[in-house]
Amino acid sequence: MIVAHISVGRSIQRLDEHASQIWFGRLDPRAKLLGVLAFVVATALLTRTTLLLASLAIAIVFAASSRVPVGHLSRAYLAALPFVLVASASVFVFGGAEKGLNMWMRVSACTLALLTLATGTETFNLFSGLRRLKVPALLTTLLMLTYRYLLLISDEYERMKTARKARGFAGGRNLLDRNGMRVLSYTAGMVLIRSSARAEHVYEGLKARGFREDMSMWKRSTIALADASFMAVFFAASVVLLALQIEVVI
């Protein structure tokens, strides 16, 4: 499930840069967040097969038309698959084919929508959107700072691993390999120590630039026609799906 993170630095950078080149990436983040949230919430509440089919179809069309890199999208989806498969399989075994299929469709639709949002939005932009949606400054500032240094620290970690390999380290392949596990944990320990040490400098850096409480973007987007239409489409779809679901139950 965390497999997708392994090449954090490079993949995220590429995605972030790609995001500004596609129509979806240029939408106001608030519109994207609210639209996708509505869709995911609605889909999570669906249990009727036909509705789930519709929802999955919408998700696929969304993902395809957004122009996010397919390779990354599929890799991320596959990373989430184990949980989904176990769930679907167990429902299939105990509850029958239809329920199993429903489970798979529902999780896939939600995951696809969320992944499209994630890969198609520049990260800082996304966090900035959260802030503008009134998420507390403390949290969004933490998010932005953590993200900013995540790339740096992950680069440092990659260098450490290379240096390790250059010294002939090939261990850590076995839980019982005591020396190997020790080296693994020492590397992790080193990462944490360096992170903590840098924190002192970052604090001074922030203060030296007059930082007080809120980290926010200077150039902000405004809600335009494209954003409003995006939201309208997704809200409409969500409402319709929910209405049909509830009607059926009652």
Binding site: A4, T123, A188, M190, A199
Partner: protein, 323 residues
């Protein structure tokens, strides 16, 4: 154990969200003063560090690899409140940047990995530590190991329980049947927990050795204070409360499950239309019997380990004294 959207029953997800927001809110309030100043960048940097540390993968046999969750590690390093906030940041980034873990399921994911894991880790660590350090050979490392394992195992038990409840109350539309979720989650994570324990012990030992000022919370003896003050502020009390909180979080789910009237196995069987005599899947233990069994397994798990540890320590101690 990042749960995607659409897997859990909406009511379970909603309860999880409410509980999670409550606990995170409390954690933010507790650490607010610190976070306003120097601790803000420190929490961010350590969260980034933990994120990267989570990328360390260790083999768990059968060609699969496991990853560090880091809840216990974080809590032992900076204390429970800060760890809850930090782990929440990590989970948010994972959900919003990688789609790892859903948004409607965020409450449950947060509960399991950002609340239960660190609280259990910290609680067990502080409960076991005073006893563990009496033995010179095993010492603090033992406490760290037990705490880390417990943090993973209990979080997994919580996740299994949530899946089981989702399955039971939705007549099989959501969640995973207890007969599958409990053994799968507990079995897999019992082994993952070992890896987590080994790595966490190594990290803490390394940090202690190289740069102890990284630690915010130093385990110290408060001998200077008066008796009652010492007892009230003691880490042991706080730790006990933390562990109790973890299990209290399970109560709403239990009542939700129990109120439905049917227990897990009956639900499972009724859904397939097979008579009770010939179950499709039968597990060696009667996990499916009641949701509470999942919870119980969690408690039993870490109690067993703790008792075993104490037992071993007592043995070593007595042998040393006689020998």
């Amino acid at each position: 154990m990042h749960i995607p959207d659409g897997l859990m029953d909406p009511i379970v997800a909603a309860i999880g969200l409410v509980e999670f927001l409550f606990v995170v809110g409390a954690a933010l309030v507790v650490s607010r003063r610190a976070l306003r100043d120097k601790e803000l960048p420190r929490t961010a940097l350590l969260s980034a560090g933990i994120f990267v540390a989570q990328m360390v993968n260790f083999p768990v046999g059968g060609g699969t690899t496991g990853h560090l969750i880091g809840g216990a590690l974080f809590a032992i390093m900076v204390g429970p409140a800060m760890a809850i906030v930090g782990m929440t940041v990590v989970l948010l980034i994972q959900a919003l940047m990688f789609g790892d873990g859903g948004i409607t399921a965020f409450g449950l994911n947060g509960l399991n990995m950002a609340v239960i894991a660190p609280l259990t880790g910290w609680g067990v660590f502080n409960l076991v530590k005073p006893i563990a350090v009496r033995s010179k050979r095993l010492g603090e490392g033992m406490a760290v190991a037990v705490a880390s394992w417990a943090s993973v195992f209990v979080a997994a038990a919580a996740c299994a329980a949530e899946l089981a409840v989702s399955y039971a109350i939705s007549s099989g539309a959501y969640g995973i049947a207890a007969t599958v979720s409990v053994p799968a989650m507990l079995g897999y994570h019992a082994i993952i927990g070992i890896g987590e324990a080994i790595i966490t012990v190594g990290v803490i030992a390394y940090v202690h050795q190289v740069s102890p000022e990284t630690f915010l919370h130093r385990a110290g003896t408060n001998t200077s204070r008066s008796g009652t003050a010492r007892i009230l502020s003691s880490k042991t009390i706080h730790a006990t409360i933390a562990v109790l909180v973890v299990f209290a979080l399970a109560l709403p789910f239990y009542f939700l499950y129990a109120s439905d009237g049917k227990d897990g196995l009956e639900q499972t069987v009724a859904g397939t239309g097979v008579s009770e005599g010939e179950p499709i899947a039968k597990s060696p233990f009667s996990y499916g019997e009641s949701y509470f069994a999942a919870l119980f397994a969690g408690i039993m798990g870490f109690l067993a380990v703790a008792l075993a540890t104490l037992g071993i320590l007592k043995l070593i101690d007595s042998r040393k004294m006689s020998g």
